[in-house]
């Protein structure tokens, strides 16, 4: 176990980290390879297309340390906005990447469902999980990916065996102390014909708390599997958030992925969905709300590798104060992926004159029989709507809250769990301020 006196991410802390972990050799080797790659790689260049709009010069890695265990109790952590009133099949909560409590309904463990901390479960169920671990995630993508692969800790895993339908949602909450580090790795594997709903959220002790999250999400859907995945990023507004998220969707599988991001100081998320089997289906719904000087940057890739697949990405952002969002979307269609139906859209609602939303859609198509469309819009709140609502008794603030909620409604309508929908709508509405 790394001790509190060894700060920073360096050879010394890495060696101590690895030595303290009782892990199988293959995993240690994977960490060493990633650490090697980290040391031989530079931070992303400012003129790199993926990074030119996202300035990380203020990010100093040496101010953070590998996640330390804390003696905090599960009851003391904040968050869990998504699950009140929802009957859960299980939940797992962690603080600074260390699991605090875990429940899984016996009904599901009896059926072979694996749920809990990834590091624990990898040790216990390596035979099942190892083939999937880092099958979607690329530790060499950039320096953050390598750092994550070397030092990832705790993490969360959901594994659903073939044909098992988990009909109640599972909930994962990753919390971070102010100034802490979260290097969580989420691995979700649904075998052929399995179904599950997973609510995954993050939290900080206060809205202004800082910290460092360098994480990864891997979703692997077997043939005919169906996953509803809600990913709610609600870190404090001082947190640096770097994440690599990738899904592999096999034949006739369906992935519905909802991304909601309200937190962090700066977020750089690289989200890729690969449709690797014929007839795969993917819907991604993004809800971003930014304020203050927040900067949220999303790079999304919908990669059609097989024929007859559908992908539908819709990102909506509302921005207030001097906040900024960057959305780069790409539909990539391989030569084999005939009859692709790809759609991507990004709509931005600017609540102040100082907010800025960059929207860069893209298509890269190598098959000839496809239908791919994309679009983006950006605009201010229409004063005529505010006036009309005013004539019906709404204050200016109430009118803007209503307009913002309405703006996101199309995405909310696609979220099947009512409590989750209402929780997100409320979390956003209470952030809306009054503007002249």
């Amino acid at each position: 176990m790394a001790t509190a006196t060894q700060l920073g991410f360096n050879q010394e802390t890495f060696d101590a980290f690895v030595a303290a972990r009782d892990e199988p050799v293959w995993l240690t080797e994977a960490r060493r390879a990633a650490w090697e790659h980290f040391q031989n790689t530079d931070w992303p260049a400012r003129n790199h297309e993926e990074w030119m709009r996202t300035d990380i010069r203020m990010f100093k890695l040496d101010r953070f340390s590998p996640p330390q265990p804390t003696d905090a109790k599960a009851s003391s952590i904040k968050g869990g906005l998504l699950c009140p009133g929802v009957a859960l099949a299980g939940h797992n909560r962690s603080l600074d990447s260390h699991s605090l409590d875990l429940t899984l309904h016996k009904n599901w463990s009896d059926k072979g469902v694996i749920f809990g901390s990834l590091d624990t479960m990898l040790a216990e169920h390596g035979d099942i999980l190892r083939p999937h671990f880092q099958s979607a995630f690329d530790p060499t993508h950039d320096r953050f990916a390598s750092l994550h692969a070397a030092f990832w800790t705790g993490g969360q895993v959901l594994y659903v065996p073939r044909g098992v339908v988990v009909d109640e949602p599972l909930h994962m909450l990753s919390s971070m102390t102010d100034g802490g580090t979260d290097l969580g790795h989420v691995l979700v594997v649904l075998e052929d014909g399995a179904e599950a709903t997973l609510l995954c959220e993050t939290s900080s002790p206060t809205e202004t708390a800082g910290g460092f999250h360098c994480g990864a999400v891997e979703l692997v859907l077997g043939a005919g599997a169906h996953l509803r995945f809600v990913n709610f990023q609600d870190w404090g507004h001082g947190v640096w958030h770097f994440a690599h998220q990738r899904a592999l969707v096999h034949r006739d599988a369906t992935l519905q992925w909802t991304v909601a991001a309200l937190g962090s100081r700066l977020a750089k998320v690289n989200q890729r969905v690969s449709m690797v089997g014929e007839g795969a289906n993917c819907q991604v719904n993004g809800v971003l709300f930014t304020e203050g000087k927040q900067h949220l940057s999303y790079d999304t890739l919908q990669h059609h590798e097989a024929a007859n697949c559908r992908s539908d990405f819709l990102y909506k952002a509302a921005l207030q104060d001097k906040s900024r969002t960057v959305w780069r979307g790409m539909i990539k269609v391989d030569p084999a992926a005939q009859k692709t139906d790809g759609y991507q859209r990004n709509d931005n609602l600017l609540l102040s004159g100082d907010a800025r939303a960059d929207s860069i859609p893209g298509l890269e198509i190598e098959a000839d029989d496809v239908r791919c469309t994309h679009g983006s819009t950006s605009g201010r709140v229409d004063e005529e709507l505010i006036f009309y609502a005013g004539c019906r008794g709404f204050t200016r603030k109430e009118a803007i809250q209503m307009i913002v909620t309405g703006f996101f409604q199309h995405v909310f309508d696609r979220i099947t769990i009512e409590n989750v929908r209402d929780a997100l709508a409320l979390a956003i509405a209470r952030r809306v301020r009054e503007y002249e």
């Binding site: 229409d382 004063e383 005529e384 709507l385 006036f387 009309y388 609502a389 005013g390 004539c391 019906r392 008794g393 709404f394 204050t395 200016r396 603030k397 109430e398 209503m402 307009i403 909620t405 309405g406 703006f407 996101f408 409604q409 199309h410």
Partner: protein
């Protein structure tokens, strides 16, 4: 029923261009007034100025509701104090269901001192009332689930505005061409609905080109507006005369106002949302 809306010497400009040039009008709650005039005369402008549209700048004069200064109020304060306007072309609010919009609006109007974030009228109670009003207006209850004015036909927008009027029960209602764009049956239904909801209960200011609304809502007073001024006021017979004979007599009797009206038409009528 002693509420009074008093407009004195009202001058209104849009983008610095004068539209209204000294309008005087006093209404008691329970009275029905017709406001008639040719295109460009300033009919909608009067409604939007009373409602507080930010682009309609009052350069002179006053509007008072029971002695309170309406011009000092924001649009929502005006609505909460009992002033309502049914818009000619109401805007769409995508993603906001009629029922949710009306529940919030109704709560604010009935509880004028409600603070932001305080409870709304209980959902069950509200739905029951809304359903009753919709049946009364022969509206499909599915309508409440649609987004506010989003993709509505002209007729549906007018019906929605009348439903809003029925829910909010204002002291004074300005109905801006609530009959335009409707077929004969729809106009009759609208006219009957307005009579049922508002006649004798509210002060009604009916802005119209046609006489159909007025058949069911015979005006106690008819005002003729020309070139931004009310040039004549009479009873129901004046409305009847204008319908049968048009504005020729008026234009000849008030040549200076007619010239102003022509000038305003030529410099293009301001875009009204109403």
């Amino acid at each position: 029923m002693s509420d009074t809306l008093t407009i004195r010497d009202l001058h209104v400009a849009v983008d610095g261009k004068p539209i209204l040039r000294g309008v005087n009008l006093t209404m008691q709650r329970g009275e029905t007034h017709a406001l008639m005039g040719p295109n460009g005369s300033g009919k909608s402008t009067l409604g939007l100025a009373i409602s507080g549209h930010p682009k309609y700048e009052v350069t002179q004069g006053s509007i008072e509701l029971n002695g309170d200064d309406v011009l000092a109020m924001s649009p929502d304060e005006r609505a909460r104090s009992g002033v309502f306007m049914a818009f000619q072309r109401p805007v769409a609010i995508p993603g906001v269901k009629m029922a949710d919009f009306l529940r919030h609006a109704t709560t604010n109007i009935r509880q004028p001192d409600r603070k932001e974030g305080e409870e709304l009228i209980p959902m069950r109670e509200f739905r029951k009332e809304l359903k009753g009003k919709m049946q009364q207006l022969q509206m499909d209850v599915e309508f409440a689930r649609r987004y506010v004015n989003d993709g509505f036909s002209g007729g549906e927008m007018k019906r929605a505005e009348i439903l809003t009027l029925a829910m909010l029960q204002p002291k004074f209602a300005i109905l801006d061409e609530t009959d335009s764009g409707l077929d004969a049956d729809a106009v009759r239904l609208a006219a009957e609905s307005i009579a049922e909801i508002g006649r004798d209960k509210m002060g009604l200011l009916i802005i119209t080109h046609h006489d159909k609304l007025l058949v069911h809502n015979p005006p106690d007073f008819t005002h003729v507006i020309l070139g931004g001024r009310i040039v004549e006021t009479g009873g129901a017979e004046l409305a009847a005369e204008l319908h049968s004979q048009g504005y020729e007599r008026i234009r000849k009797a008030y040549p200076q106002d007619d010239a102003e009206n022509q000038a305003m038409l030529e410099t293009e009528e301001p875009q009204s949302i109403g």
